[in-house]
């Protein structure tokens, strides 16, 4: 027990000393790790915020139920309430024949010649049905449509199948791309950080050799390096987090304006505390792993 404490003390002191003693190596490795993590973090932020935007677009996913001609107001209300209870439905909006005509007119750009030419309103009343988030997919949509299909008073269901399919595909593609890029980026970071630490350890091979010659056990030599890698990873991640936050604060105002114009309200978000923790933890992990890997091939020479 006593010995363990002493050993840990030496390991910690040796790690700190190692970091201080070779400022070039330490600094260079720190910067490299931080830069790699900034890349990963920036990509993470981008994906997170894109995800939010995509979800908002997904809200446009809706089913229009055209109603039978001459449905009574009462039946309409009952139908709307009934529809609301269908599994997967988030909200129901009633659009009367008059509403339909007005919207139609607006769509044509208000050139009112059209409405005047009509002797009766040919447009049906309808229900605009939005879906809960979990149902926003081609499959989910079909389930909802099937549930609605039998309801009395509904003449036809329209839900832009093609559009939905395209959207779903786009979503899964972007997600796939995101995951792909994230994997590549994570791998690259691991490699870069690992290599950086390997070089840093290599630059201190004298020390490793001499420790071995005076009788240091394998763990006595390696644990300080692991601690160093861990500390460097943690520090670098904190640096990266700080840098990302600065970038975020600088870029958000101009970006937000642009996005708002495109897609309505938007406020790019920073990481949640949990995500921050994750970033720092992965920095620490990668650092420690890099140090461990540095010894794998090298071994005792």
């Amino acid at each position: 027990m006593r010995l363990l404490v002493v050993h840990l003390f030496y390991a910690a002191r040796s790690a700190i000393r190692g970091l201080w003693a070779s400022p070039v190596t330490t600094g260079v490795a720190l910067v490299t790790i931080a830069v790699s993590l900034v890349l990963v973090g920036a990509f993470g932020l981008l994906v997170t915020n894109m995800q939010g935007l995509l979800d908002r677009v997904g809200e446009d996913l809706r089913v229009t139920a055209y109603l039978e001609e001459g449905i009574s107001d009462e039946d309409l209300k009952r139908l709307a309430l009934l529809t609301q209870t269908v599994e997967g439905v988030a909200s129901v909006e009633t659009i009367s024949k008059d509403d339909a005509l007005r919207i139609f007119d607006e769509r044509l750009g208000g050139r009112s010649g059209l409405l005047e030419g009509l002797e009766y309103n040919p447009l049906p009343a309808s229900l605009e049905i939005t879906l809960v988030e979990s149902q926003r997919s081609v499959g989910g949509l079909r389930v909802v449509v099937e549930s609605l299909d039998g309801l009395p008073g509904i003449e036809e269901l329209s839900y832009g199948e093609e559009w939905v399919e395209g959207y779903a595909r786009a979503l899964s593609m972007i997600r796939g791309l995101g995951v792909g890029v994230a994997c590549v980026l994570a791998l690259a970071t691991l490699l870069i950080v690992g290599n950086t630490i390997k070089l840093a350890v290599y630059a201190r091979r004298d020390e490793i050799e001499i420790l071995g010659l005076v009788g240091a056990s394998r763990s006595f030599v390696r644990i300080p390096f692991l601690l160093e890698g861990f500390t460097q990873g943690t520090l670098a991640a904190l640096m990266a987090l700080g840098l990302l936050y600065i970038l975020y604060r600088i870029l958000t105002p101009s970006l937000a304006a642009g996005i708002e114009l495109l897609m309505g309200h938007a406020s790019p978000a920073f990481f949640s505390p949990f995500q921050m923790f994750l970033l720092v933890a992965s920095g620490a992990f990668v650092g420690a792993l890099g140090s461990a890997a540095a010894f794998v091939e090298g071994g005792r020479r």
Partner: protein, 236 residues
């Protein structure tokens, strides 16, 4: 745990040991010898005779190509990788090229040999101070090793080898960078470690030392023991 061998056994035994770094040439060839516990042995021979190689075999920095080496009743040629550190912690070595960490302080360089055994920091400080005083460098203990002169570095290397009261002291040309006066002081220090029961092997070219200390002397030539003078007679 294995039973400790009886202390009356030879401390070091080499049976027909050969070492060949490159096929066809031998740095050591068929060397057999015994060194008793507490014995003091000089190792001489021309440049490239195999002195350093012999010492390296004893602290398992190299493995013999042939033959067996028994140290304290244990066959170290069979030692696994993880058994080596424990062996080295009982041995003090003065390397021919010192092998100090230039960027570390003298105190740290010497203390290293105690740290690896888990000695508490307070005890390290006092023991390091004591041994640095013996080699006359206590006032330099906070300086970086690379800022010391050649002779000073050599004494730091000796201090590191002595600081953990080793059972076996291997000194490779420990006075090659010292002036004659200091050489005697340092050799006295080594001899006194021998007198306290440490088995000592000193490789040296300085014949005046061999004359003065009149200890058993192994003369190597081209990897073979050519002379083994005063073995049984002188050793206690």
């Amino acid at each position: 745990m294995r039973r400790e061998p009886p202390v009356t056994d030879p401390f070091v035994r080499m049976y027909h040991v050969s070492k060949s770094y490159m096929a066809g040439t031998f740095a050591l060839h068929d060397v057999s010898l015994e060194v008793d516990r507490g014995e003091f042995v000089f190792l001489t021979g021309p440049s490239g005779a195999g002195k350093t190689t012999l010492l390296k075999l004893l602290f398992a920095a190299e493995r013999p190509s042939e033959g067996q080496i028994i140290l304290r009743g244990r066959n170290i040629t069979r030692l696994r990788e993880y058994g080596i550190p424990a062996l080295r912690r009982r041995i003090g070595v003065v390397f021919q090229d010192f092998k100090l960490l230039g960027h570390r302080s003298v105190e740290e360089n010497v203390g290293m040999a105690l740290e690896v055994r888990g000695t508490p920091p307070r005890e390290i400080r006092s023991r390091v101070f004591r041994v640095l005083k013996q080699v006359g460098l206590q006032h330099r203990r906070y300086h970086r090793a690379e800022a010391l002169s050649g002779g000073e570095q050599q004494r730091v290397a000796l201090a590191r080898a002595l600081v953990n009261d080793p059972e076996l002291l291997l000194a490779d040309e420990p006075t090659g960078n010292l002036d004659p006066e200091l050489t005697l002081e340092i050799m006295d220090l080594i001899a006194s470690a021998g007198a306290r029961g440490t088995t000592v092997v000193v490789a040296t070219h300085d014949l005046s030392l061999i004359d003065r200390y009149a200890k058993r002397t192994l003369h190597l030539e081209a990897g073979c023991v050519k002379r083994d003078a005063g073995a049984a007679a002188i050793s206690a």
